[in-house]
C-alpha cells in the first residue's frame, strides 16, 4: 500500500445548526477494502456525499489521492466511481443503454461496457430493460457503472441493501476480490457488521457523526480482550465470583460472558475460572472461548462515543 486513497481532516458538515458529520479524520489506504460502519443516521452517506463533491464541507478538508475535493472537484471526481443508495437508472432503457450514457459523459471507450459488464457478470442480461431487473441485478449494474473508466477508487453506499442471502454472499465475494481484480480501492458503507467483517481489510466506525474507531481489521481484532462464555447453574453467583477474580462480566440470555484483559491467556484464564467456580460449588456445564468480532469493536466504540 503506497498511500492514501481518501484522507479527511476534521471534516465537518452541518445542516443548519445540526452537525451531521463532526471533525472526521479518516484515512483509507490505497488498494484496501475499507468498511465504513455506523448505524442509520450516523452520518455515513453525508460523509460519502462530501467525498463525491455532492455536498460542501462546513469545515475541514477531504482529499482523494491528494486532490482537495473542494478546490478541484473535477480532478478529484475523475478518480472515483460511485454507487449511491439510489441507483439512478432509467427504467425505460436497457442496462447497456444506461451504462452507455455514463460512458458517453465520461468519454470512455466503447469497449469499457463489455469490460465492466464482464466484471459483474451481467453481459447476458445487459440488453434487458432495467425495469425488468431484480434488485441484485441493479446493484451489480450500479457497480459496473461505477467502474466505467477504471477509477482507482470505488465508493459503494450500502451495496447489500435489499439483497437476499445469496445476493449478499455474491456481493461479499465480489467486493473482496475487487482490489486484486481491478487494482481499485473500495470504500463501502454498511450497517451490516458481519458482512463488513468478512469483506473489509480496514474499518472506520462512525457514531453520531464522529469517527470513533479506525484501523486495519486485523489490528483492531488483535487489540481486543478475549471473552469466555459460561453456562452454569447459578449465573448470579458465578458472575460475582468471576468479578472477584477481576473479570468484567456481562449476562446474556444464553450465557455469562467473562471478559479477560487483552493480553490474558484465554486457556489459562478459563482453567482458573473453572476451578474457582467448581470449588465454590457452582455447576459448570460449559466454558467456551469466544473470539471477539467486529460487533464487539462496534459495541465498544458506540459506548465510547456515547
Amino acid at each position: 500500500m503506497s498511500g492514501l486513497a481518501v484522507e479527511t481532516k476534521a471534516l465537518t458538515r452541518r445542516f443548519g445548526q445540526r452537525a451531521v458529520v463532526r471533525e472526521v479524520s479518516m484515512s483509507v489506504p490505497e488498494r484496501s477494502v475499507y468498511g465504513f460502519l455506523g448505524r442509520n443516521g450516523a452520518g455515513k452517506t453525508t460523509t460519502l456525499k462530501v467525498l463525491l463533491g455532492l455536498l460542501k464541507p462546513s469545515a475541514g478538508s477531504a482529499r482523494l489521492f491528494g486532490v482537495d475535493i473542494a478546490k478541484d472537484r473535477l480532478k478529484a471526481a475523475r478518480k472515483v466511481g460511485a454507487l449511491m443508495e439510489a441507483h439512478g437508472f432509467y427504467a425505460n432503457l436497457s442496462g447497456r443503454e444506461n451504462l452507455d450514457l455514463t460512458r458517453t459523459l465520461l468519454g470512455a471507450a466503447r469497449s469499457e461496457l463489455d469490460r465492466v459488464l464482464g466484471v459483474v457478470e451481467m453481459r447476458e442480461n445487459a440488453s434487458r430493460r432495467v425495469s425488468d431487473y431484480s434488485l441484485g441485478m441493479r446493484q451489480r449494474l450500479g457497480i459496473a457503472r461505477a467502474m466505467i473508466g477504471a477509477p482507482p477508487l470505488l465508493v459503494l453506499d450500502e451495496p447489500t441493501n435489499g439483497l437476499d442471502p445469496d445476493g449478499i454472499a455474491d456481493m461479499r465475494l465480489f467486493l473482496r476480490a475487487l482490489p486484486e481484480r481491478t487494482g481499485a480501492t473500495v470504500l463501502v458503507s454498511s450497517h451490516l457488521l458481519g458482512e463488513i467483517e468478512q469483506t473489509a481489510t480496514h474499518v472506520g466506525i462512525l457514531h453520531e457523526g464522529r469517527l470513533v474507531v479506525e484501523g486495519s481489521l486485523a489490528q483492531l481484532k488483535a487489540g481486543l480482550a478475549p471473552e469466555l462464555a459460561l453456562d452454569v447453574d447459578d449465573f448470579d453467583r458465578a458472575g460475582a465470583l468471576a468479578q472477584a477474580r477481576g473479570f468484567a462480566v456481562q449476562r446474556t440470555p444464553e450465557a455469562l460472558i467473562a471478559r479477560l484483559q487483552p493480553r490474558d491467556d484465554a486457556r489459562a484464564a478459563a482453567a482458573a475460572l473453572n476451578r474457582t467456580l467448581v470449588e465454590a460449588g457452582v455447576a459448570v456445564f460449559s466454558i467456551a472461548h469466544k473470539a471477539r468480532s467486529l460487533e464487539g469493536i462496534y459495541r465498544d466504540a458506540a459506548k465510547v462515543g456515547a
Binding site: L54, H87, L101, G107
Partner: protein, 241 residues
C-alpha cells in the same frame, strides 16, 4: 457539451416525454379533422392551419410544456439519479444546459408536428368529405414562421416551468403552476396585462396588435433566454440533498 446533449436525447428513448411529443400535436390534428367533418361548406385552407396553430399556442403549448418539463425532470427525480450525474467529472452546468436544449428541441419538434399533422388532417378530411375541401393553398412558410416565433416567445414559459420542475422533487408545484398559469392566461386573453404572462406570450404571435406581439416576443424570447441562463447557473450551484 455534445456528449451531454447526446445523453439527454437518448434518455427520451421509449419515454413518456417522447410519447407526449407525438400525442399532443395528434390531438390538435384529430380535433381539426373532426371539426372539418362537422361543416358542410369549404373554408379557407389557411384558416384551418391557423386554427391548429391557435389551439397549439393557446392551450396545448402551455399544457405540453408543463407536462413535458415535469416528465423530463421526473426522469431524474424518480430514480434519484442526480447524485450519480452530479458526481461525474464534468461541469454541472452542462447537464442542465443539455436538458434545457433537449426540452426546447422537443417543443420545436411538437411545433413542427402540429403544422404537419394539421395539414395532414385537413387533407384526409377533404378526402373523406370532398364538400369541405378547403379553398386556396396554405402559406406553409408563413405558418412555420409564426410557429417559430411562438417557440421563441415560449422561452420564458419553458424557463419558469423547467426551473420549477428541476428544483422541486415533487411534480406538484410545477404542475400547479402550469395549470394555474394556463388558466389565468386563457381567462385574461383580452386583458392588456395578459401579455406579460409567460403562458400567454406564444398566443400573442397571432394578434394583429403589433405592440402585443413585439412585447411578448421580446419578454418571452430575450427574457426567457436570460431566465434559462439564470436557471442553469442556479441549479448547477445549489446542493441537491
Amino acid at each position: 457539451m455534445f456528449a451531454a446533449l447526446s445523453v439527454e436525447f437518448r434518455k427520451l428513448n421509449r419515454s413518456l416525454a417522447l410519447l407526449l411529443a407525438v400525442v399532443a400535436p395528434t390531438l390538435i390534428a384529430v380535433f381539426t379533422f373532426c371539426n372539418m367533418l362537422r361543416g358542410d361548406a369549404p373554408q379557407e385552407y389557411d384558416m384551418w392551419i391557423m386554427s391548429g396553430s391557435a389551439i397549439w399556442a393557446f392551450f396545448m403549448l402551455p399544457m405540453s410544456v408543463t407536462a413535458l418539463t415535469a416528465l423530463v425532470a421526473n426522469m431524474e427525480h424518480g430514480p434519484k439519479s442526480w447524485d450519480h450525474l452530479r458526481a461525474l467529472p464534468l461541469p454541472r452546468w452542462r447537464i442542465y444546459a443539455a436538458k434545457t436544449v433537449c426540452v426546447i428541441a422537443v417543443v420545436a419538434l411538437m411545433s413542427v408536428l402540429t403544422l404537419l399533422m394539421t395539414w395532414a388532417a385537413v387533407e384526409i378530411a377533404a378526402a373523406v368529405k370532398p364538400a369541405v375541401t378547403p379553398s386556396g393553398a396554405p402559406d406553409m412558410a408563413a405558418h412555420a414562421w409564426t410557429l417559430v416565433k411562438m417557440l421563441a416567445a415560449a422561452f420564458l414559459l419553458i424557463a419558469v416551468q423547467l426551473w420549477m420542475a428541476l428544483r422541486f422533487q415533487s411534480f406538484v408545484p410545477g404542475l400547479a403552476l402550469g395549470i394555474g398559469g394556463t388558466f389565468f392566461a386563457v381567462v385574461a386573453t383580452s386583458a392588456r396585462a395578459g401579455v406579460f404572462m409567460p403562458w400567454q406570450m406564444p398566443v400573442n404571435m397571432l394578434t394583429d396588435e403589433a405592440w402585443r406581439a413585439e412585447t411578448a416576443l421580446a419578454i418571452g424570447g430575450a427574457g426567457g433566454f436570460v431566465a434559462l441562463v439564470l436557471m442553469v447557473a442556479h441549479l448547477s450551484w445549489r446542493e441537491v440533498r
